[in-house]
């Protein structure tokens, strides 16, 4: 995938994780967390597109995304 000038705001990911876990995040963990997020998003989009194709939709609709959200989240439960 061709990344632009900046793929994602690193501070934001760090803040999100910090807020949720109430723990500090060591230095380069956010990269790996973002990597995990990318994997999740890939799974989500794959499932959503499969779902959308099964439903006969053209693009990926919010409905198909919502349908596969819970399943994809449960796949990424640690």
């Amino acid at each position: 995938m061709a990344a632009g000038q900046k793929l994602y705001p690193r501070a934001t990911v760090k803040k999100i994780v910090k807020a949720h876990s109430k723990r500090n995040v060591s230095k380069n963990v956010d990269v790996l967390i973002f990597l995990d997020y990318a994997l999740f998003l890939q799974t989500l989009m794959k499932e959503a597109s499969i779902n959308a194709k099964e439903a006969g939709e053209r693009g990926i609709s919010a409905k198909s995304v919502k349908k596969v959200t819970a399943m994809s989240l449960s796949k990424f439960k640690g």
């Binding site: 995938m1 061709a2 990344a3 632009g4 793929l7 994602y8 705001p9 934001t12 990911v13 803040k15 999100i16 994780v17 910090k18 807020a19 949720h20 876990s21 109430k22 723990r23 500090n24 995040v25 060591s26 230095k27 380069n28 963990v29 990269v31 790996l32 967390i33 973002f34 990597l35 995990d36 997020y37 990318a38 994997l39 999740f40 998003l41 890939q42 989500l44 989009m45 794959k46 959503a48 597109s49 499969i50 939709e57 053209r58 693009g59 990926i60 609709s61 919010a62 409905k63 198909s64 995304v65 919502k66 349908k67 959200t69 994809s72 989240l73 796949k75 990424f76 439960k77 640690g78």
Partner: protein, 547 residues
């Protein structure tokens, strides 16, 4: 029995059997075992074998002593309590050796044999003098005399009839309690029809079609005042239970009615009028909830740009029910839909932001045309009842204001949502542009060409928020378990291994090479200690999998 139990047992059995056995065991041969052996040897070789087997056991006498005690007390209790106690106590004292015990038992037996009352009770002759025996004797005396009197020609049918009646009476008596037992359950059966009619609808309501998990259904319902998004406006995946949905089923009938009427266009104005009061002051919680697209049902709200008075209850809850496509199901068809779906539909305007024509993507133009048509159909009746009151202009202006308010709300929500985590810390969400870029690229790799519209992006953003919450919880748990206050690289490596994203062939580093740009990759490479840790963790994982 005596043979089986050995010498002492045979003595005790003899005690039980009565005076007929007593004579065999006299005080002369009260040495016990020898005498019994001699006696038993006369009888059968089997007994001798048994007894020989029993002799070398030293424990058996003690056991028998304990069991023989109560038997002697039983017997002594028959005589007098005093002697019984004495015999029992002395028996225990004497019963140091088997011989002494045997002698004691013989003594007791002889005492028992000497008492006259014992024989009498055993034979039972004295008991015949009880009133029952007297009556029996009387009946014996009377029976031959009464027999000729009973069979009279008239008496036979009468007695037969009586006997029949008795039988029937008995049957009735038998029947009556049987009838009464059913009667206890009868009122319940009568009520069952009503109960079924009362109970069945909630059983089948709403919970069947949807993807409710067992966990979500079984959780307790929270009070409306304690809804999690009341305190925290975060729309987190974990903080909302499906069981909370249940409270909204109360609005079923009302919502359905209102929906029907509004689609027909009769009372549409009333709905708008009611809804506007709430809509003028939208709550923040509901705003965030709506705009997150959280659990939102399909955005059916294009038809009616107004909230329903369902907000009056403070019930800002969102149905987790998925989601109908308004394009697939145009509005007029919804009138014939089932009750539940109509509720979902009716909930739609509450939860979903209103998308006007300007907001729609180019893809939704067809739908917009439909919406405009529907609006055109619905608007005149909407304003006409108010027009009779002279509030047309008021209504229009307020509607516009509300639309503007909703639009700004939507935009604000899109720009920046400040959410509060479980620990009360505010956190941002990933910028929508980043998410959209990533999602589009992934969608392209997944095969779908069309671009992601805004609702889908909202859904993806919501999923991302949930994902980050889940991942952060897990990471925090791992760090806590390791006794660290900092989330380390080992945590995320463990997490990815547990997510089965990494395995022996796929390392985090290879994944990073695949998905991350070079700068970030260099970030990862640049730090030797973390890399060392990571590689060590990977080695361990690989070893485990090789094993």
């Amino acid at each position: 029995m005596s043979a089986k139990l050995g010498g002492d047992a045979s003595q005790s059995a003899a005690n039980i059997d009565g005076p007929s056995r007593q004579t065999r065991i006299t005080p002369r041969n009260s040495d016990g075992d020898e005498a019994l052996q001699a006696a038993a040897a006369k009888e059968t070789p089997w007994r001798t074998l048994n007894q020989l087997a029993n002799i070398p056991r030293p424990t058996t006498p003690l056991r028998r002593a304990s069991s023989a005690g109560p038997s002697s007390t039983r017997r002594s209790a028959r005589r007098t309590p005093g002697t019984g106690h004495r015999a029992n106590g002395s028996g225990k004292k004497v019963a140091v050796t088997p011989h002494g015990r045997a002698a004691k038992r013989e003594l007791d037996l002889r005492r028992a044999g000497f008492t006259p009352g014992r024989d009498r009770r055993r034979s039972g002759r004295q008991q015949r003098e009880t009133p029952r025996d007297i009556l029996r004797a009387l009946s014996r005396h009377l029976a031959p005399k009464t027999l000729p009197t009973v069979p009279t020609p008239e008496g036979r049918p009468a007695s037969a009839a009586k006997s029949r009646f008795r039988v029937t009476d008995d049957d009735d008596l038998d029947d009556e309690p049987e009838l009464k037992r059913p009667r206890f359950s009868l009122p319940l059966e009568d009520d069952e029809d009503e109960d079924d009619s009362l109970l069945l609808p909630p059983r089948s309501a709403g919970l069947e079609d949807e993807n409710f998990t067992v966990q979500s259904v079984e959780l307790g319902r929270r009070a409306i005042s304690e809804q999690p998004y009341g305190r925290l406006s975060r729309g987190s995946f974990g903080s909302i239970r499906m069981s909370d949905v249940f409270a909204d089923l109360n609005d079923m009938a009302r919502g359905g009615d209102m929906y029907d009427s509004s689609v027909v266009g009769d009372n549409f104005g009333d709905d708008v009028g009611n809804g506007l009061d709430d809509e003028a002051f939208p709550e923040e919680n509901t705003a965030t909830l709506r705009n997150l697209g959280l659990f939102a049902s399909g955005r059916d709200s294009d038809i009616r740009p107004a909230n329903l008075p369902a907000d009056d209850t403070g019930n800002t809850f969102v149905f987790t029910v998925p989601h109908r496509e308004p394009t697939e199901e145009p509005a007029p068809e919804n009138t014939t839909q089932s009750l539940i779906e109509s509720i979902i539909f009716d909930q739609g305007p509450d939860e979903e932001p209103v998308f006007n024509e300007e907001e729609q993507d180019e893809e939704d133009e067809e739908q917009d045309e439909q919406d405009e048509q529907v609006d055109a159909e619905n608007m005149p009746p909407a304003s006409s009842p108010r027009g009779l009151d002279g509030d047309v202009s008021m209504l229009d202006t307020t509607m516009q204001e509300s639309e503007v308010a909703e639009m700004t709300r939507v935009k604000n929500a899109r720009k920046k949502k400040v959410k509060v985590s479980r620990h009360g810390i505010q956190y941002p969400s990933l910028p929508a542009g980043v998410v959209k870029k990533l999602a589009t690229s992934f969608a392209r790799t997944a095969g779908s060409k069309a671009k992601i519209n805004k609702e889908a992006l909202d859904a993806i953003m919501q999923a991302s928020d949930w994902f980050f919450e889940q991942v952060s919880d897990d990471l925090g748990a791992y760090a806590k378990h390791a006794g660290r206050k900092t989330i380390d690289e080992s945590d995320i490596v463990t997490l990815m291994a547990r997510q089965r994203q990494t395995n022996a062939s796929t390392t985090p580093f290879s994944l990073a090479q695949k998905y991350l740009p070079r700068e970030l990759l260099q970030e990862l490479r640049m730090v030797p200690p973390t890399k060392f840790k990571k590689s060590r963790a990977l080695e361990r994982i690989e070893e485990d999998e090789e094993d």
